[in-house]
Amino acid sequence: MDTLMGQEAPRLEASLKVTGAARYPGEMPMDGLLHAALATAPIPHGRVLRIDTAKARALSGVVTILTHENADRLPPTEYLMLLQDPIIHHAGQPVALVVAETAAIARRVAASIDATYEELPAVTSIAQGLADAFAPKSAGRAPTDSRRGDPERALAAADIVIDRHYTTPVNNHNPMELNAAIASWEGEEVTVHSTTQSVFGTRRIVAHCFGLPIDRVRVIARHVGGGFGGKTYGWFPCLMLCVMAARRTGRPVKLELTRPQMFTLVGRRQDSLQHLRLGATRDGRLTAIVHDTIAQTSPFGDYADANGGSARSLYACPNVATTHRLVRVNAPQPKPMRGPGLGTGSFALETAMDELAEALDLDPVELRLRNYADRDQNEGLPWSSNGLRDCYRVAASAFGWEKRPRGIGTMREGHHRIGWGMAASSFPVFRMASQACVAIGRDARVVVRCGTQDIGTGTYTVLAQLAAQTLGVPFAQVAVELGDTLLPEGPYSGAHLATASFTPAVEEAARTLRDRLIERAVADPLSALYGAPADQLTIDDGLIRSVAGNRSEKLADLLARSGDGLEATAGAQPDDKVTHSASGFGAVFAEVRVDPELGEVRVTRLTGAYAAGRVLNPLLAKSQHVGGLVWGIGLALHEATVMDRRLGRIVNDNLADYLIPVHADMPRFDVHLVPEDDPHLASGIKGIGMLSIVGVAAAIANAVYHATGRRIRDLPIRLEHFL
């Protein structure tokens, strides 16, 4: 590893994006393209009795209409595939796919599809289905329940107990780009342009559903307009209809969801009821943590966010129990959404920690320092690294935390109340297998090939940086190919695992290529380096030279002479044997300004410090951390998908009524990257995309308490909380 802090290279594909030249998957030009649109059910539970498409089929411009009566039968999968039977599980579920010559015709015909339904009783809230709560097989990537020590006894014996209930609402990913796909068949081969966080994952499901050998399916996504979890497997069922329609019509078909459909057909963050109990000694040592979550899932699939993840590992505590239960609601299928589990779970834990600090009259940072976990007690493993204490120190100092008055509502600015709050953040490190190829041409231009995606996270840029640094060539000479299943298989873009996964593979491929270039120079009688000992040579800024510095040759000259380029492919995968527990850590400090008459809450400052391993590009890393903080503001103050409990329909399924943070909501951001050398992780990478949303909602809620004395335990914080 050369350095813990990489170069501030500008985004590799930025000029394409600022000129409008970047083509996203739904924008690929295609001859003879047909357009598809979905007709959806208005009822939350029931069955289609009759769906009349005869009149619609006869309309000019309509090519075909798929319903459960004529759609291809797909083999079983772990997803609810659409148009396979007449059962309706939630409002917004597709009942027909209209394929037409233009998008306008498809949309209008879809809206006019005439269906009659038998309505069945529906469960439209967690509260209604509480009696039937059940334990899922897992909570995210973690076990459903955990238990160490004897939490009940420890609670009974504790000097101080905090026993509180918290709720978080349904959220939707809402990337700015609508999910879209274009599928086109040629014989028994299909090419799919899809807005996806995993081209290889998409290829596997398409091959499975349509009974194709894997190499007959090509999936392409060169640019993706944001994902946040909404362009993963939740999108597969709609995508399969697009592929099916293209096969049925023998022409390329484009399906683009509408914004309202983005609230029902690509996944959602489930709403949760969380019960959190802390037991502590008088001097602020945690003796018990019990964190029980009940959350929504759909009638047809189980998914539970790991809300208890922070409670299990963040603090040292001998007696801990966590549980996750689900309630089936006639509502869309939940899926991971940025910072899954810990984003919402830490709201409960970190608010409760603030309540404990208040009860003990202890500074919230001091309380956390007293409970620092020097190993992962849940896994029973040492940390690969844990920079949490550095994060507290760096962020507190940058924020000016030492000037915080302990009293509530004592800071004023005119008639506004000012409050300061903080919280810890953490998110586990995940990795998957990845391959990568690094090639150099006769012109000494380098290409990195890796079948991962860039969903806005800077993947193009860091792939180029990794190859440039490891190989020893200028960044400007490196091009990147990604987002295509013809490339070596790369990782999924989610759970902030992509960079941690592909970096070891790219570095290995680049090192191998460097060695081969040196071998070639040494063996080439026309090279200035002919016969030099290979271990005495290095490549730097496009020049092969001896370490002593007295002999050198440009890579371009060496390659031009020898007739062909060189390439190297490498693969990397997670270690089978887990010897350490790996997480990224951070601390976030918030300042809010509350209008005591109107109840308006404005976040005015957010300061975050993050220790998350090696940083490949501080410019892009800071942008991503700020993005996570913005998501935290949305979780804290804005976002809630509202279900009409009587009708079982979502009432705010658009970007005017589902509030997300806008320019005017932005505070001053101050992000600090705490350098961290983690010798136990391949290439030292932890991943950052999830980490910085975690803790923000609690930091803001804690600041609101500090400003007003109102302890808000239900997100989002809204005006009505201050009435």
Partner: protein, 164 residues
């Protein structure tokens, strides 16, 4: 019931080029940019005027192309993101977006840039001292889900002193 629209012939100028087009009466300017002119830089994020991803300049003023009927644009001059760079040279605002890392996924970026160009034009030379808070207020019709807002405002401030 007919699903086909009546078509209407219009003449308009897009990025300095004149076009005569027969467009469906119900087609939005956004649809026509995509489907008739293959200009996909103008993005669709909501199709109801609430996200700003389709912002273009219409006779110099910013509009949501998803809310403008194409048939009503007879004789108008439209500037889209594809017409902002001149002869291969980026506009200072585009360069500032790159330098400030004012984009992540890039999908809202064309709308942010068009909106900011409109804002700069609306402000005029006498109002260059417009504060960051006022920029934020005036840019709040352009949503960015990646959360690049702070860098977008920095880029606008940088470019304000050198509008083309």
């Amino acid at each position: 019931m007919s699903m086909q629209d009546e078509t209407i012939e219009i003449g308009l100028t897009v990025n300095g080029r004149s076009h005569r087009l027969a467009v469906p009466a119900s087609a939005t300017l956004l649809d026509v940019l995509h489907d008739f002119l293959a200009l996909t830089g103008t993005k669709k994020g909501c199709d109801m005027g609430s996200c700003g991803a389709c912002t273009v300049l219409l006779d110099g003023r910013r509009v949501n192309a998803c809310l403008a009927l194409a048939a009503q644009q007879e004789g108008r001059e439209i500037l889209t993101i594809e017409g902002v760079a001149r002869e291969g040279a980026l506009h200072p605002l585009q360069a500032a977006f790159i330098a400030r890392d004012a984009l992540q996924c890039g999908y809202c970026t064309p709308g942010q840039i068009m909106s900011a160009l409109g804002l700069i034009a609306e402000g005029g030379a006498q109002n260059r001292a417009i504060g960051e808070a006022e920029i934020r207020e005036n840019m709040s019709g352009n949503l960015c889900r990646c959360g690049a807002y702070a860098n977008i405002v920095s880029a606008i401030v940088d470019a304000w002193s050198s509008p083309a």
